[in-house]
Symmetry: C2
Subunit: 331 residues, 2 copies
């Protein structure tokens, strides 16, 4: 039984940002968020990736704020939202967002999430309260590939899992270890070679990523127990992706970025394989849903951070089609 | 990936009841419920036990309706609510109830649940949205004792687990087997002797329980996958009871009924042991919460079905104390 940690108990961690931050009490957690744009515009909810805080969307928010009333959140265990040891699951993350839409947005919203946040965008597409979600963008979501034993393709152990495992091992649940130098020294030895060779294409080293400067800000705000919860399967338990996808009830845009499957080991480097991304669309379509697909094979995992203009344009172009019923696939 | 099952797809299962039934769309599930009493009275939410439908409260509802606006629900996988294969967890059951309080009750409510429903009453005491729950009755809840590896005392395998396992084995997920005669023949062989010897004190054979007449109505309305989810630990994963109890934020009445620990095997027959019930109170109290305790050592597991008058009086007596700040323990 480990105590919850509120932002005030980790106050030295944080740095200022261009948008004001707010805290809303959702019951179990206090969720931190930032808002941009005029409330008269359509609502948009942005859901960050694992190890990302809301401000990963800062550049994109500036662009999207001309068109939407934008809300970007910290999920439990990330940023200034409550850290909840033992309780990092897709269903808990997802139901936090259901409460957030109710209590803060208060009207039907578009949702867009990256990576784990993209899986949560899928979760909301399937499981939100009626009328909460108008349409959903899934930005490079690890559908199937973040499960332990997925219906199709590589599980997390055959994908990005070793990176999360290394973070958790050297930094510890709630940063209880915090051995950054040890992590830096261990990565070349503990990560499979095929990850080391391809990781930069998926996650380019950023300007702030000088390892000698210590942990980057996004990791400092991240509870490394998240990583363990995904590697162990606790986070994805009782939320089979095939079953979830069959329940999708709103129009979806799925983007698919850099990915490669190592010929020798079969390991996936990327959020999902072509087979997994295709199977996800097949399930949604077979259940009567609409899913549009855009492949960006040279794009890093986070389009919204690496190329915020392309991300904003992709969202806007697709949203403009929502009144036109189509089911296009562009590969 | 098994399809969800709505009540309409199992329509032949059901029988008429004294109160009208209603269906509300919560997003993932359609939840069935019945209402009694005048809407001007305080709201009360009743949460049935595992293998119980809302109408297990029918007699109690008649008594409570003089004092409350009473809502009794079917949880997912029980009664006329949606069956959701693979998704029976405390967090999903609990968040269904959060949505139900929002969409149907619409104001702060008292909650009272039996057994698994009592654990969900505890879950709501800790994790509901701010202001949703005024106070909570935990009717003989298997705190700790329905977990796989609890912080204190017997886990479910050392308690009622073999009963749930036998139901699931012979009836099958979603009644896919339905071998009632086989179950009846197997029980004496598959259940530990100490359960067989004591079960009648915990769950007295009811008027409808003639095994030759086939499965009782409550079991016919129950998805036996519930049993497997609890025995495997899937239902209770990522919801450690000690951690949950430390988050309780509303006044609580805990009732504790028949229980015994077999001297030879250490098996618990009953919802929770004295140690477990005491430890639950200690954790709530240490976190600054109020928990009152009433022991009914001769009472079967379901007071509200076995002795609805005693149940209604117990709830009413306690609710009358809510304006008086006390922390009494009566054993």
């Amino acid at each position: 039984m480990t105590a919850y940690l509120e932002a005030a108990e980790r106050a030295a961690t944080f740095v200022p940002h261009a948008f004001d931050e707010h805290l809303v009490d959702l019951g179990e957690v206090r969720m931190n968020y930032a808002v941009a744009g005029d409330p008269s515009r359509p609502a948009l909810l942005l859901i960050p990736a694992q190890s990302e805080s809301w401000w990963g969307y800062e550049a994109a928010m500036g662009l999207l704020a001309e068109h939407f009333h934008v809300h970007a959140v910290d999920l439990r265990g990330q940023g200034r939202s409550t850290w909840t040891p033992g309780r990092y699951t897709l269903d808990n993350f997802g139901n936090d967002l259901v409460r957030f839409i109710d209590l803060v947005i208060g009207r039907p919203t578009l949702v867009s999430g990256l990576s784990s946040g993209g899986v949560l965008s899928a979760w909301l597409s399937a499981f939100a309260k009626p009328g909460q979600v108008r349409a959903a963008v899934w930005e490079d979501p690890p559908l199937f590939a973040c499960e332990i034993a997925p219906a199709v393709g590589q599980g997390i152990g055959q994908a990005i899992g070793p990176v999360f495992a290394a973070w958790n091992k050297w930094l510890g649940d709630q940063w209880s270890i915090g051995h950054w130098d040890g992590l830096m020294r261990a990565m070349p030895a503990e990560l499979p070679f095929e990850i080391l060779r391809n990781l930069a294409a998926m996650i380019p080293p950023g300007e702030t990523a000088d390892p000698a400067a210590g942990p980057p800000q996004n990791l400092r705000e991240y509870d490394p127990e998240w990583g363990r919860a995904f590697v162990s399967g606790a986070a994805t338990a009782s939320c089979d992706h095939a079953s979830m996808l069959a329940r999708v009830r709103v129009p979806v845009l799925q983007t698919h970025h850099f990915r490669t499957v190592d010929a020798e080991t079969g390991r996936l480097i990327g959020a999902s394989s072509d087979d997994q991304a295709r199977r996800a669309r097949e399930i949604v379509t077979a259940a009567g849903g609409r899913v549009d697909y855009r492949s960006f094979p040279d794009m890093p995992h986070s389009m919204h951070e690496h190329d915020p203009k392309q991300y904003a344009a992709t969202v806007l172009d697709w949203v403009a089609t929502l009144d036109r019923p189509t089911n296009s696939t562009e590969e």
